[in-house]
């Protein structure tokens, strides 16, 4: 067929010219003996076997030890508070509309009199839920937030759980604690003076 078309297989030149012609040499006596190759392979295995005792270990004891996260790692969400400890989120819905996985839902409410120290704006999120099974941790909610309220923490992941409902994180697990000590390292940070002031207010 190829001959009829005026071309043969040898005329097909490699375009990249990187193809190597494989030569099949006959095996030597040592190769044919089989056992030397077996012992060579076993010696490599034994090297690795004893390396664990002499050199640095490749595994870590996970729950006690953790690997360092990348500084740009996007983990579990946090709803930030402002410097006076009020919730920054105003339930504007921009995170939910930006979310490609549609993982965020919220219900807005009006701030009542006397709640000014709890919520920063006239409107606040009565409920704010993120489905961590839907979430793809892309960080678009963080970018969309006009109030610098939602951040993806660099040092926390959504832990595995047994039930699906446990992955729907409500405000109880998303809003950062009022105490400044165990706040997330992400987002707007309190200065040490602000943190001290807030601590004295709480006591």
């Amino acid at each position: 067929m190829l001959h009829k078309l005026g071309m043969t297989e040898t005329t097909m030149e490699s375009l990249s010219k990187r193809a190597k012609v494989l030569e099949k040499k006959p095996m030597t006596l040592a190769e044919r003996a089989y056992l030397p190759a077996i012992f060579q392979g076993l010696s490599i295995t034994m090297q690795h076997f004893f390396r664990a005792a002499t050199k640095k270990q490749v595994t870590i004891r996970y729950p006690e030890e953790t690997r360092p996260f990348s500084p740009v790692f996007r983990g579990l969400h946090v709803l930030k508070r402002d410097e006076k400890g009020r919730e920054r989120c105003t339930a504007c819905g921009l995170c939910a509309v930006a979310c490609p996985a549609e993982a965020i839902t919220m219900v807005a409410g009006e701030r009542k009199k006397g709640e000014e120290n709890l919520y920063r704006e006239e409107k606040y999120a009565v409920s704010y839920e993120i489905n961590m099974l839907r979430c793809i941790f892309c960080g678009l909610c963080e970018e969309a937030c006009p109030k610098a309220a939602v951040y993806l923490q660099a040092d926390k992941m959504a832990p595995p759980r047994f039930e699906r409902d446990e992955f729907i994180y409500g405000k109880d697990r998303l809003v950062e604690p009022v105490t400044p000590d165990n706040r997330s390292k992400r987002g707007i940070q309190l200065t040490p003076e602000q943190a001290d002031k807030l601590r004295t207010q709480l006591v």
Binding site: C92, A96, G109, E110
Partner: protein, 338 residues
């Protein structure tokens, strides 16, 4: 009839038409924005200066350019007029200044405001404004006035377009609200904090270009872009109201009812307060289908408008089969032709 050239496009309009309406006859991206002009309201326009255009030739008889930019919503056309809008750099530059002026006292509380997503000022600033502000002074504040259980007044957001005053003046027999004070201190108020209880008072919500007058029954319920607009109608007992509205659904709940608006955000038909505030059940309405939303709008997010009627497929069948089908028609699916 007068022939004018708008942005290089010739259009013929009846005498007495404003430049803005002539531009709207052309349509598309060349139409100047309007914040205070409202076609159904007599006397509106000329206040916000958003629609300023350059008239580079006054008329065929007197082709001198007009010395200053003119408000296109109140300037009538003359035969042979040449108007420049998007093609004139000065106009675009001035419009940036207008945005800045309107935003001087406008609080940037769009995340809180219920109007966000359908706000004319938001669109206007997005299309023509800068994303920064040079204003450093305190913004004006007002004492909160409660104007009744149905309408929420946020005076800080008001841009003093006077549309709501014209609604009160022209639509309701005895008007109970107007503009008080002068200049920077002027504000929308009701005399002796009168409750607006006219049948058509709710229309001030629709005409307000910003979030100064919003629906109290919809307050903070849902962001507009999460709700789905559906056209519907009902037989309304109120005179002058024909009950043609848009229902805004979230799931199965009607969260709010508004009048239908055209592409320029102008109300097509006024609706009464009964339709707007009291009829929030699907059972009250005859649904017509999804309301059209401009694709560029955030409200169009995830809303898919399905074609209402599929084109009919006419098969090329032999005559005997056609006769057979006519005698024994197959079962009809759906109720498209009923």
């Amino acid at each position: 009839m007068a022939k004018i050239t708008f942005d290089g496009i010739e259009v013929e309009v009846p005498d007495g038409t404003t430049i803005l309406n002539a531009a709207r006859q052309i349509g598309g991206g060349i139409v100047p924005p309007a914040m205070c002009y409202y076609t159904p309201l007599k006397g509106s326009g000329g206040k916000c200066r958003a629609c300023l255009v350059k008239v580079s030739a006054g008329s065929a008889k007197d082709p001198r350019p007009m010395p200053k930019l003119v408000a296109s919503c109140i300037t009538t056309v003359q035969d042979g007029m040449v108007v420049e809008n998007t093609i004139n750099e000065q106009v675009m530059d001035v419009r940036k200044g207008i945005v800045e002026m309107l935003l001087i006292n406008h609080p940037l509380d769009c995340p809180v405001c219920d109007q966000a997503g359908e706000c004319s000022l938001q669109d206007f600033a997005f299309e023509h404004g800068l994303s920064t502000t040079r204003y450093e002074e305190e913004r004006r504040t007002f004492e909160k006035i409660d104007i009744g259980p149905l309408i929420q007044l946020h005076m800080t957001r008001c841009i003093l377009c006077y549309r709501c005053v014209y609604v009160a003046d022209q639509l309701t027999p005895e008007r109970v609200h107007g503009v008080l004070g002068r200049g920077d201190a002027s504000e929308i108020g009701t005399y002796i904090e009168n409750i607006i209880d006219n049948d058509f008072s709710g229309n001030v919500i629709d005409v307000c270009p910003v979030g100064a007058l919003t629906d109290k029954t919809f307050r903070f319920k849902q962001r507009v872009w999460f709700t789905k607009p559906v056209n519907a109608h009902r037989d309304c007992e109120t005179d002058k109201c024909n009950g043609h509205v848009t229902l805004w659904y979230k799931g199965k709940d009607v969260l709010r009812v508004t009048a239908r608006k055209d592409e320029y955000g102008e109300v097509k038909e006024w609706i009464c307060n009964t339709c707007r505030f009291d009829k929030k059940e699907t059972a009250d309405w005859t649904l017509e289908g999804p309301a059209h939303i401009n694709r560029a709008s955030v409200i169009a997010q995830n809303h898919y408008e399905l074609p209402v009627v599929n084109p009919q497929v006419i098969a090329d069948l032999p005559e005997s089969t056609v006769r057979e089908l006519e005698q024994n028609p197959p079962l009809r699916l759906g109720g498209l032709n009923n």
